[in-house]
């Protein structure tokens, strides 16, 4: 486990977007945290991240918070009979031994009442709260509105 973290840290020390860096809490590794630029501060922003659980017990992401937004919630894009809706997700399961992606078109964080528009190149912290592992804070890179995710050497997206 220690070896894995060290290898990952070395791999990620190459020049790359901060979204490619990893933070860990317990058995969880959090990386590829990114958000899309917003037009103004009135629209909600989406937050995306990858979470790997290398432990032997299941965990779940149960909340997110950030000083960049007045209200942050977990949502899931669901398409039923062709109609897309975005119900609130109480928890995003992170099963043992698996990687879960909050990614466009699926689970995502919704950041509402932004304190300022998110501009490409900005970075802001988001604190993730897990059922078992507790809290961890990661930096989030703001990518262009058109972006489909950070371009990381380890191809985690």
């Amino acid at each position: 486990m220690k070896h894995l973290i060290l290898t990952t840290a070395l791999l990620l020390s190459a020049p790359a977007a901060f979204a490619c860096e990893a933070v860990t809490v317990g058995d969880l590794t959090i990386q590829h945290a990114w958000s899309k630029a917003t037009i103004g501060a009135d629209r909600p922003a989406a937050f995306y991240v990858g979470i790997t659980n290398s432990g032997s017990s299941d965990d779940a992401l149960v909340g997110i918070s950030t000083p960049a937004a007045g209200m942050s919630m977990l949502h899931e894009t669901v398409v039923t009979d062709g109609v897309a809706s975005m119900p609130h997700a109480m928890r995003v399961p992170v099963p043992a031994g698996q990687t879960v992606q909050l990614a466009p078109g699926g689970y995502h964080g919704m950041l509402m009442v932004l304190t300022a528009a998110l501009k490409e190149g900005d970075r802001f912290p988001v604190t993730l709260t897990f059922e078992k592992a507790g809290e961890v804070t990661t930096d989030v890179d703001v990518l262009p509105l058109r972006s489909e995710g950070p371009d990381c050497a380890d191809a985690g997206q």
Binding site: K36, T77, V83, A84, M86, P104, G105, M110, L145, E148
Partner: protein
């Protein structure tokens, strides 16, 4: 190839009420993000790719627009004849100016359309699209809406739908068949 053939057969549109009308039989009148009036007849003679969304949408709409921009890039000049339109389901907030700011972030061939509520409702009926306003806890609202991308032949006949979660490997050939 055999697999693809079977897949095509399964996805061949069946004649039923849930399919969009041919463009020539539609009756809406909308305004594009440059402030110009657009009617269905204006599209006849060119293939069209149409989808519904709104600019306050944090996930589905930018994801769809990013995907469409990627498809257009892959098709290159082949897609220059294609009409590509986003019709807003949130005309209260999506004025032509707001749409201009928004579509400016994506492929320049994408046109944003909005209009009075009654015309949006008419367009949704013509395309057999469902949309509804959903209040949020913070007093704001979001919109649920049909997320597929509709393809039409140059003569206005409905050709196909690209579903929201469909792989680009399937989407681009579908568009190409509409263009030919």
């Amino acid at each position: 190839m055999l697999g693809l053939g079977a897949w095509r057969a399964r996805n061949r549109p069946a004649a039923n009420a849930v399919l969009p009308l041919p463009i020539g039989e539609m009756g809406w009148q909308l305004t594009d993000h440059r402030g110009r009036t657009v009617r269905p007849a204006d599209w006849l003679g060119r293939p069209a790719m149409v989808f519904f969304g709104f600019t306050w949408c944090p996930d589905v709409c930018p994801t769809t627009l990013s995907a469409i921009s990627g498809w257009l890039e892959e098709l290159g000049t082949e897609a220059d004849r294609l009409i590509v339109a986003l019709i807003s389901v949130d005309p209260e907030r999506d004025t032509p100016e707001v749409l201009a700011d928004y579509v400016g972030n994506f492929d320049p061939r994408i046109v944003g359309l909005t209009g009075p509520k009654a015309q949006i409702a008419r367009a949704a009926d013509d395309f057999r699209v469902i949309y509804r306003k959903v209040p949020r806890d913070d007093g704001d609202y979001t919109m649920d809406h049909t997320a597929g991308v509709f393809l039409f032949h140059a003569d206005g006949r409905f050709a196909n739908i690209v579903d929201f979660h469909e792989d680009r490997r399937f989407a681009v050939p579908k568009i190409r068949r509409t263009l030919s």
